[in-house]
Symmetry: C3
Subunit: 327 residues, 3 copies
């Protein structure tokens, strides 16, 4: 079974959610449509539906992230599932052998779904490949590989504002090459058929030859790259890269690639400003922009719960038919 198909069952329905890569457009659209109905639930007085009552969802985090853990915990609880949080310190998460034993034990406890965050690329696939038939795996971020629920909530936010993806020019700014968020966004944007995807980054972070493999247009100049874009997605600056000498100083980076009102003027008037959060104010984005009228950053967070509810419920309802269209 290849990497792409691992996340589908024999009928082509979603079983695991590991990566956007290889998923058909119809499935992404179905997830967005399902999320729409849950978005309405999260705005109700009683923000709960009994869909996953009696199911057990484990947040299995090998990398600590209160924020991501909280969004998945809220999504699960609003689906009426029981949630157990397990944080595995990096030191204990040693060998693949141990990882499998952890998986086998939680499976034996009749847990139904594992939300996995792991510092190693491919960890979620590895676990999914060995998971028992009754278990679903959701990738909540694995190394530099993928963060598919983040990408889907971004798509949800774009669709809410732009209605359709077809005519859009989308720019992703920052360390695109090493970002699991960016990789998943590129797959999603491409599958949903945007007109053009751009990556804007310093030459040291994103050599032209590397970008061709991603299927994006590379820009090293911010103003040039932002020209006429409909959506600009800022990535969080990873400070460890700066220390590695691959980036100029924080101040210099902000001057060249920080999103300011001034630079934003090159984009379309109705440009959407996005960021997966948490933001470094004054580093990759100016507060005036982050809190400004074009920013949809908090809407992204808000949609995160609905999108994760959609992914979780779809993966658990795989016996039911998913509406599909040719792609």
């Amino acid at each position: 079974m290849d990497k792409q198909n691992l996340q589908l069952d024999a009928e082509g329905n979603l079983r695991h959610f590991l990566t956007i890569e290889g998923l058909k457009r119809a499935m992404l659209v179905d997830l967005l449509d399902t999320a729409e109905s849950f978005a309405e639930v999260t705005e109700r007085e009683v923000k709960k539906v009994p869909l996953l009552r009696g199911k057990t969802i484990v947040n299995l985090f090998f990398e600590s992230s209160t924020r991501t853990r909280t969004t998945f915990e809220l999504a699960a609880k609003r689906l009426s599932a029981d949630v157990v949080n397990i944080n595995v310190p990096a030191s204990a998460a040693s060998k693949g052998e141990t990882l499998l034993d952890t998986l086998r034990n939680l499976e034996a406890m009749h847990c139904d779904m594992f939300v996995i965050r792991h510092p190693d690329s491919g960890a979620a696939h590895f676990i999914a490949r060995h998971a028992a038939p009754h278990v679903s795996i959701i990738n909540a971020g694995d190394g530099r590989h993928a963060h598919p629920t983040q990408a889907m909530l971004d798509m949800f936010t774009i669709r809410r504002h732009k209605k359709t993806f077809q005519q859009l020019i989308v720019a992703i700014v920052g360390d695109v090459l090493h970002s699991r968020v960016a990789r998943s966004q590129i797959h999603a944007l491409s599958t949903l058929g945007v007109q053009e995807i751009r990556a804007i980054a310093p030459r040291t972070l994103l050599p032209v030859e590397a970008a061709s493999a991603l299927g994006v247009h590379v820009y090293h100049d911010m103003r040039e790259g932002l020209r006429d874009v409909d959506v600009v997605i800022m990535l969080r600056l990873q400070y460890e890269r700066m220390q590695g000498g691959m980036l100029p100083s924080e101040h210099e980076y902000y001057r060249l690639y920080g999103l300011t009102e001034d630079k934003l003027r090159y984009a379309r008037d109705d440009v959407m400003v996005m960021h997966p959060g948490p933001i470094n104010r004054g580093v990759e984005i100016d507060s005036a922009v982050a809190d400004g009228p074009r920013s949809v950053i908090l809407q992204q967070v808000s949609h995160g719960t609905a999108v994760r509810m959609a992914v979780m419920s779809r993966a658990m309802q795989r016996s039911q038919a998913v509406v599909r269209e040719p792609s």
Copy 2:
């Protein structure tokens, strides 16, 4: 909007619960009455009511306290709310900017109520001032400022035993000047109309001039201060003060201000002995007194859940009219 009114909505109903200061007597009485009905719930076989089903309550603790977190978690669960615990290590709780971003993100996740504990005085007010309209903030202790749910459970315990507040003489013993618990107790006792509030402490901890601002009578001698009191509230000794040279040795402190059977003889025969816990046995209170017939320390804990249920449900039901009387 001034500090006092921040916690009320336009109709004068409770929206946030930040401090006792500025709340009218009728509102405190309403909270105590509401807590009475919940006290009955917590003693039932099934200790749950569906009042806050589908609501999300976040325990957002910037200062670690298993005990306080547990009481709020229990109160929320017994109201059928979903609870998420978030502990923010002191190191991560740096700038106000970050604090606001944390707030905005949790609001965007459609959380309804935040129970905040924070080492900085005024933190809960700061957050409440910036909270979205749909969100309620409960102060679970901020610096040296206020701990209003603790004060309300103390009032609940006093009322259960003494029926009325009017004739009471209440003495608070310990570092009254720097205690958020004492400040909230003094506001509550004063609003509920006790006859006299006394503060008993070493001169180094409580200069006479400082006490006048609190509106209490100061005593530096324990026996004198305890004479004829109906209620004595012991504060927990903060060891860091002792190291700062503001206090004599632990042994000396106990000799002078530790509550013993001997000193307690100066109070009225039916005196109630209270302590917010956790107690330092043999430091500020003798075990014989803490476990003795006049101690209501465990009753205070017991009432804590009911009082917190009352505060939480009142703050969430602010669309409904609150019974009010002129004050």
Copy 3:
């Protein structure tokens, strides 16, 4: 009230679950029968029963164990109880005084059941001896003393495979003398009437005279001890003992006492291989055996939830009559 009877109420029903020692065969059989009905629940689509709705169960862990905490948390949630997890760091768990104050406070919060793990032998008994009448204590492992729910899930697993205990020869391999798991297993196996219990360990770990007190047959040679056994229970190697010079090297231990296919050949053809987990692969057990056809290690984990549900519900239903037979 002696140690054995502390866990029964006046009618002889289970109130606390502290040790297998002193429990009658009929009570163990009742727990196994009750667990059978819950095993069916954990395999359903909706893995929940409303038996303990509105009850509060506290996981009070003075020794960290994500695995054990998770199984109890799952069991409690599947019984619809509210669960609060409290981890008390070893440093804070100092004096018995403090422990009692912790207990008194949680009781005052109207918690109904405490699941206790503690590094000191006898801690669960100590707490049970002082618990309020409405509270049940479950021992989740105390020092080297007992781990009775582990023993019961082992008995459940044996009964599922062997139907009856009467004809069985069971060998326990490892540091039997210092293992709380082994002690509880020996009491359970003996009460349920197996034919023979063997302990296999190096002479340094298990002197013959010490074993007689346990009422087991001692073997120092693995092949000899495994001859004709129906069940072999491997214990987890405690590395700290190895450092203490009581054990040869890891390699040498494995050569002598590690369970391999080769040594297993001395047992009966239908031998069951058990281990309380987590396993040290290649230390006390070969992967080929742990994952092989005779291993029931994951079934043990699986039965853990059902057995803990049975213990919890029995201890909470002590007003109801428990079916008993003479023993």
